[in-house]
Symmetry: none
Subunit: 192 residues, 4 copies
DNA sequence: TATGAATGAGCGTTCATTCAT
DNA sequence: TATGAATGAACGCTCATTCAT
């Protein structure tokens, strides 16, 4: 009983914060509003999190983990790497577009001084699966011989930028546009 | 005399805000601190800007204009498009690395809800030179036939991600790494 | 069994509060911390005490009673009054120095607005043994003919001040210093 | 003009805090109430003092200085030491009784953990005049040969206790009572 | 123009107390 | 009895903005 309740409250707080920050930014998301939206008392938040900053960081880690786990959930290791990567790239974009709040939150966080409060080893840990995925492909000469870190930056950066374009509403992407985006990326990173 | 002085103060305020925000983020950059760092009285800022938000937006527009102008300052229209693009891509990365404060500010702003307070036509205007540059290359069949907006997103997103990688300090990029990054991008976007 | 347990918990709560207040003061001694230090749940405290204030007052009364009882425990009514007073005075100082937490708590309480929440008759009761002790000596012309209340104030005030001097650490008192202090007091209050 | 205004506000804040703390104690004297009573905005207090603690400490130092200065203002160095001490002792008690708020504040502070946030040298400085006054009398063999620190403790402790007795309202001291108190102290500390 | 003291709404956070279990 | 999650009023403090000078 207690566990269920706990889960509910903590979850509700996470959801409320996510909603507010994605819409209004960090400093226009007061704890009082979070409490109201999560339907808990202000003080209750502090049973689950030491401070606003800690709550935000915990939310970041949580969403990143979920995001990465999601990426590989439908991965099929029996396919060719190209197919796997295609799925990976398009799935990432589609998921982000389906969950704009989470995407906005993650981007906002990653581009704020907040990010430096999260220790590097933690960030490395969160990126590990993507890192491994791409490094192996470099190693097996499927991908261009570039440091995997650069490869990740390239792939993730282009994808995130395309997601923002779509979410901004100033350009409606069709599925053939998405396919084009994939090929643009693939032709850049593939070997030869 | 007065104009020069005005210019000085406005400039000092811009600089102070840039410094603070790039280091501490929007909500840890109080106007009182900006005033102190700019060596003006708090009230003085309000002679030049209606509000903190307006100051931040003005700073954004200013830096974006400077940034784009910079990109094409050393552009040589007589070279091949590939060479011009190479110069464009590498120059952009190098400039950002040389001016981390400006880069951090721009990224922070672009990923915050602030951005939505700047009207779309203004954003379009700021991007116009890059848009034209790439669109023409699509038109002349030098680049892959993709909507230029996607092209911009792809190119700028990958570049900005690579810049962050370098500035984060977790990966030291050599000039040959940069060259690799360029080819990765180029092979993705070029025709055929 | 239950009584013993009760006693244990109540005692633990008293001890925890004493420790915290003597170190951090009234308003930096939250009930949650008291609970933690007493190893009981926060709510449990409210089974034994109506409120924080009541707990603090009960602790005060308790410590005062203990303190006064202690003073006369080793009193020898067969000695001369001077010897009895000497023992009383020096014992008081030594006990306080041995129990700094209790002393600090009592002083803090006695000098705070809290004290006024304790009814005067209660205070009178607590002081009664000392009052009787001194009054009789006035009556029998061993002590100067001063209102006993003033006598108490004089004796207790000088003693408490000397205790604070020692506990503050800025002056290490030797036993001959203590003897001197006793004579200073005695020569002041004795008859003739 | 500005100086006068400054003085007024700072003074008003000091007065308000003094009034509140002497009546309700530290933690029942919220800054909002201080602001209200001083007739300034809450934020204004923070132009003059960094924090509530700093304000309280500044007030303490201020009152102690005033208190000590007052003690020696009407001192007549041509009189005998006994007369000077008599004046000192009685004046101290009378002044405290005339200014109960200041007395209560000082006692409350001196008996709280606050006091340890004030550096020892500062406390020594505040006590210096009294220290010098008594030490010289020890040196010239007018007073008993006791460490001056103990002497101070003895004199000040007994006086403060007598003041509390009077202020508590449970005993109305006549001027002959005061005279008695003086002799009690004097006979204790005088040589021979 | 320029100043900076003053404002006060609103923030993040604490903590005495309650109550369902 | 005993628990400790939950409450929410109240706290200390910040800071964008104003305005008399």
């Amino acid at each position: 009983m207690k566990n269920i309740k706990d889960f509910d409250k903590k979850e509700a707080i996470f959801q409320a914060m996510l909603e507010l920050i994605s819409k209004h930014g960090f400093h226009s998301s007061p704890m009082s509003e979070v409490a109201k939206q999560a339907d808990v008392a202000a003080g209750t938040i502090y049973h689950y999190f030491k401070s606003k900053d800690e709550l935000i960081c915990a939310l970041y880690v949580r969403l990143r983990e979920k995001f990465v786990a999601n990426l590989f959930k439908t991965d099929d290791v029996n396919k060719t790497f190209k197919d796997r990567f295609r799925h990976f790239y398009l799935h990432m974009i589609q998921e982000a577009i389906k969950n704009p709040k989470e995407f906005y939150f993650l981007e906002q966080f990653a581009n704020s001084p907040f990010i430096s409060t999260i220790i590097k080893t933690e960030i490395t840990r969160l990126e590990q699966p993507i890192y491994d995925f791409l490094r192996k492909a470099v190693f097996t000469q499927v991908l261009r011989d570039i440091p995997p870190k650069i490869l990740i930056a390239f792939v993730m950066g282009s994808a995130s930028s395309i997601i923002k374009l779509q979410l901004s509403g100033e350009f409606q992407m069709t599925s053939s546009d998405l396919e084009l985006a994939f090929f643009t990326c693939w032709d850049g990173i593939k070997k030869g």
